[in-house]
């Protein structure tokens, strides 16, 4: 009897040890899977080794998050409202090209390409619109509204060419270049103040304050898109995304280089549109050729030829 009890005690002792070990491994795994992985893994390890208390860990995680407010903290829902405003500003400068057939084609093609990107899901998805402008230009808002000018589409010769232009713009959305153009100080103000007051419905004063930050953020993005352009590094990232999308979809990625070559002869450096906001196509062609390597793909097939002509012959 006594022996049995000792045996049971020994077993339950082991049970406690084992469950403790299992619990800590589980916490270490789950801590690692959260968004602020580095900090939280660090604090959970600290807790596991008994060096810091749970309260201390929580406060370290909180203060780390307080200073980490950045474009990554903008939720897709907020990104959606930012994108709509940027779209409205662009459409204030450039009239839409109201041709249903052409715009439908662009949307079917563009939305298919977006499915094969690294960021297929947005709050309300990708949408495309042709701008009634001879200028060679294209824009992408953070929320996936993508605009391409008639001038740009006239530089294309086939569906893979159009796919290359759209994929480059999708690339900017995937890389969140638009959101990155917003000054960090604004995001800090916007997200920290709302995070703290979000429990109650925002007052008129809050809305007014937020709207000011919103307006400044939109200006940051549109001045980058329309006047200053992204850095060469950002353009290279967008080209890289474009090559990935084209390869996955089954288009010849060299189409991107072909469009750039045509842009080089059509666009004057420093001229309006792309010439002003994009690096010299010559440099981009070099980068793109490096990205593509020896990969090639089939040329456009009969169906692609037909639908391209049906939609964009009169562009």
């Amino acid at each position: 009897m006594i022996r049995g009890c000792i045996q049971a005690a020994k077993t339950s002792g082991r049970l406690i040890v084992m469950f403790t070990v299992a619990l800590f491994s589980a916490f270490a795994i789950s801590g690692c899977e959260s968004l602020d992985s580095v900090t939280k893994l660090g604090t959970s390890l600290g807790m596991a080794t008994g060096r810091i208390s749970e309260e201390q860990a929580a406060s370290i995680n909180k203060s780390a998050e307080a200073v980490q407010k950045s474009f990554e903290d903008i939720t897709p829902e907020q990104e959606y409202y930012i994108g709509r405003a940027v779209g409205a500003v662009i459409l204030d400068d450039y009239p839409p090209y109201d041709d249903r057939r052409a715009n439908d084609y662009l949307n079917k093609l563009g939305q298919s390409l977006a499915l094969l990107s690294d960021r297929p899901e947005l709050f309300k998805g990708y949408r495309f619109l042709i701008l009634d402008s001879d200028e060679v230009n294209a824009f992408a808002t953070p929320s996936g509204l993508i605009f391409v000018s008639r001038g740009m589409l006239r530089l294309t010769r086939s569906e893979p060419d159009v796919a290359a232009v759209l994929s480059h713009e999708i690339g900017h959305v995937v890389e969140k270049h638009g959101l990155k153009a917003i000054k960090t100080s604004r995001i800090n103000t916007a997200l920290t103040s709302v995070a703290l007051t979000s429990v109650q419905l925002a007052s008129n004063e809050d809305i007014a304050k937020l709207t000011n930050v919103f307006e400044d953020s939109i200006n940051d993005i549109t001045s980058t898109l329309v006047n200053n352009g992204y850095s060469r590094g950002a353009e290279r990232q967008a080209d890289e995304q474009a090559v990935t999308i084209l390869k996955r979809t089954g288009y010849d990625p060299r189409a991107l280089a072909h469009v750039l070559e045509r842009m080089e002869s059509a666009v004057k450096p420093g001229g309006p549109g792309f010439g002003k906001t994009h690096p010299d196509p010559k440099e981009r062609i070099k980068d793109v050729e490096e990205l593509i390597g020896n990969t090639s793909g089939p040329g456009p097939n009969a169906v692609q030829e037909r639908r391209y002509k049906d939609a964009l012959a009169g562009i």
Partner: protein, 216 residues
């Protein structure tokens, strides 16, 4: 590379180590602590157990290990709840946009993550299992209405996102009235959306996206 999905999901971070591999590493640690010898496979570990304990103990150890291993995924999955961060998304039979749609998920819906593959998450939601692209999910809990207890306790920690918070409809309305911008075509553009099935058809007709079996 799946940069954005990697970030959103935050699945197991050490570079090059997949979720399964990480769990294997933990299996290793667990065994190491118990037996004080390096783990060289199940058979080996059990024979070591037999040498050190009598038969009843061996059974107890086996049961306990089984219990521990059954508990570990439960604890992990409790932490692996994610929320839908886009307005609408589809639950699919396979990790690809070519997979058949078996259900629709809406903003703020909660899902249990089962596994991950090339930017797709296998999830359980509303009694169903299927695949969702990780760009539609966030580790934060999204709460649709203010006043929820969870929001009160953790709004400032960033674990909970209140839907409609920050840049929202109200801010847009005020911005619109202040700037006088015309949103007509922005709204029109939003109506240009195609069903996934129409896009699949477009790709198929053009003899596209078949080489790799669809989206990655």
């Amino acid at each position: 590379m799946g940069r954005a999905p990697g970030h959103e999901v935050g699945i197991l971070t050490p570079p090059g180590i997949t979720g399964q591999k990480f769990r294997d590493t933990h299996t290793f640690t667990l065994y190491d602590k118990l037996s004080k010898v390096p783990f060289r496979g199940w058979a080996n570990a059990f024979s070591l157990g037999a040498r050190r304990f009598d038969v009843s103990n061996k059974l107890a150890v086996q049961l306990l290990l089984l219990a521990a291993f059954l508990c570990t995924p439960l604890l992990v999955s409790a932490q692996d709840t994610m929320s839908v961060t886009v307005e609408k998304t589809q639950l699919r039979t396979s990790p690809s946009f070519l997979g058949s749609v078996i259900g629709t998920l809406s903003y703020a819906d909660r899902v249990q993550v089962i596994s991950e593959q090339n930017g797709w998450m296998k999830v359980a939601a509303a009694g169903r299992q299927g695949w969702v692209h990780s760009s539609a999910l966030t580790t934060r809990q999204i709460v649709l209405k203010a006043g929820d207890e969870n929001v009160k306790t953790s709004a400032s920690s960033g674990e909970v996102a209140l839907a409609g918070r920050g840049f929202n409809k109200e801010v847009e309305a005020k911005y619109k009235s202040e700037t006088g911008l015309d949103y007509t075509w922005v709204n029109k553009m939003e109506s240009f959306g195609y069903d996934p099935s129409a896009l699949q058809e477009f790709l198929k007709e053009g003899d596209l996206a078949a080489a790799e079996g669809g989206a990655q």
